[in-house]
């Protein structure tokens, strides 16, 4: 098929598109007021949801810490922790969730900013890939953080219920456990994220690379 024939068939295709796909002005108007159904928007919304839940958790943890300090008899974790331990637990949880919120927020910002762009295709692709990779990394940090901290506290509640900390194997384990669980959680999160986005991002990277190479070579 030569270029003239290609163009004539293309014109036929255009006529087909115009006759079948054309929409009324009110549909265009409705589209600008609609909510995005794209997967990127869904990711953004879920990050937004996580952000709200985590922020509420910080408020709850701080409130419980203050309540336990002011009135140790209402210690909500009385069955496992002393009032002092409970206060420490709530404060550490509030700080951990705050760090998680920070990473979550950074991921959210990356996703939000890549949604609107009128850059050329090559630059836009580059920015998109970079932002997606950053967002994924922040999301991994955010999701990895809580598991080892909670595991350490659970182990502490179980192993040190009637005993205080000392220089023994259990104390060593208390410090080793979160590191091991943290590493496992990090690699698991990386694996899951790779499973989700790996192939897709590799494909986009290949497009980007081909544009990069050829735009400078010629």
């Amino acid at each position: 098929m030569d270029i003239i024939e290609l163009k004539s068939v293309w014109n036929l295709l255009q006529q087909d598109i115009i006759s079948k796909d054309r929409v009324e002005v009110n549909k265009i108007m409705a589209s600008i007021h609609s909510k995005s159904k794209s997967e990127i928007s869904k990711i953004k919304n879920s990050l937004h949801f996580k952000f709200i839940i985590a922020s509420l958790s910080i408020v709850a943890a701080i409130s419980l810490a203050i309540a336990t300090i002011l009135k140790p008899t209402i210690n909500p974790l009385d069955f496992v922790f002393s009032p002092l331990e409970s206060v420490l637990f709530f404060i550490i949880m509030a700080i951990s969730v705050a760090v998680m919120v920070f990473f979550n927020y950074r991921a959210y910002i990356q996703i939000r900013d890549i949604q609107q762009s009128d850059l050329n295709l090559k630059d836009n692709l580059k920015n998109f890939i970079k932002a997606m990779k950053k967002a994924i990394a922040f999301n991994i940090f955010s999701d990895t953080l809580m598991t080892p901290i909670l595991a350490a506290w659970l182990y502490y509640a179980y192993a040190f219920k009637n005993q205080s900390l000392g220089f023994d194997f259990r104390t060593l384990l208390l410090f080793l456990l979160p590191i091991l669980i943290g590493l496992f959680s990090y690699f698991l999160q990386r694996f899951v994220q790779h499973l989700k986005f790996g192939k897709y991002l590799n494909r986009l990277s290949a497009y980007s690379k081909s544009l990069e190479n050829n735009s400078t070579e010629l």
Binding site: D21, E39, L119
Partner: protein, 167 residues
């Protein structure tokens, strides 16, 4: 009428005049009607969100091509997969390129089938070229040199011709 309503009407009028561009992008990058409708809505929405950055120094149609192609190239779908015994995972994939559209004209059918074998960037360059967008404009929209546009178009034509011949 408020300033915002004026702006909305002005935008809708401009998009309405060039809506063929969006439909062409949707036909090239989508495999079914539902996906086409979703992509159309997404492109219009992103055009509206980017509209404040449209300064008028470029043609509205060129700007529209740029945003529409950016949205279409980044578009991906979530596919549910059970890959590893207990771990149900989701994989984000490019939409399938197998076209489910059927055309009465055999030549359009053949062209459409051949187009589905091109990758996303090739589809973009081919569409711009066949829409008679000048090479310097294509180079600006894609972000590559004019030389590369020409080289790429030659390769695309060969690829299309081979596919059509084979079928």
């Amino acid at each position: 009428m408020t300033v915002n309503e004026n702006k909305e009407n002005e935008f809708v009028k401009l998009v309405n005049e060039s809506q063929g561009i969006i439909h062409k992008v949707c036909r090239l990058y989508c495999d079914d009607q539902t996906h086409r409708e979703d992509l159309f809505q997404e492109i219009v929405l992103q055009l509206w969100k980017s509209y404040p950055s449209f300064k008028g120094d470029a043609k509205f149609s060129s700007w529209m091509y740029r945003v529409a192609l950016n949205v279409a190239i980044q578009d991906f779908r979530k596919e549910k997969k059970r890959k590893y015994l207990f771990l149900e995972s989701f994989e984000f994939k490019e939409p399938s390129t197998i076209q489910k559209n059927h055309y009465k004209d055999e030549r359009i059918e053949a062209l459409h089938k051949a187009i589905s074998n091109l990758d996303k960037i090739e589809k973009a360059i081919m569409m711009l070229h066949l829409d008679d967008v000048p090479n310097d404009e294509i180079a600006k929209i894609i972000g590559i040199s004019q030389n590369y546009v020409r080289v790429k178009m030659t390769r695309i034509r060969t690829k299309l011709a081979t596919t059509i011949k084979t079928d």
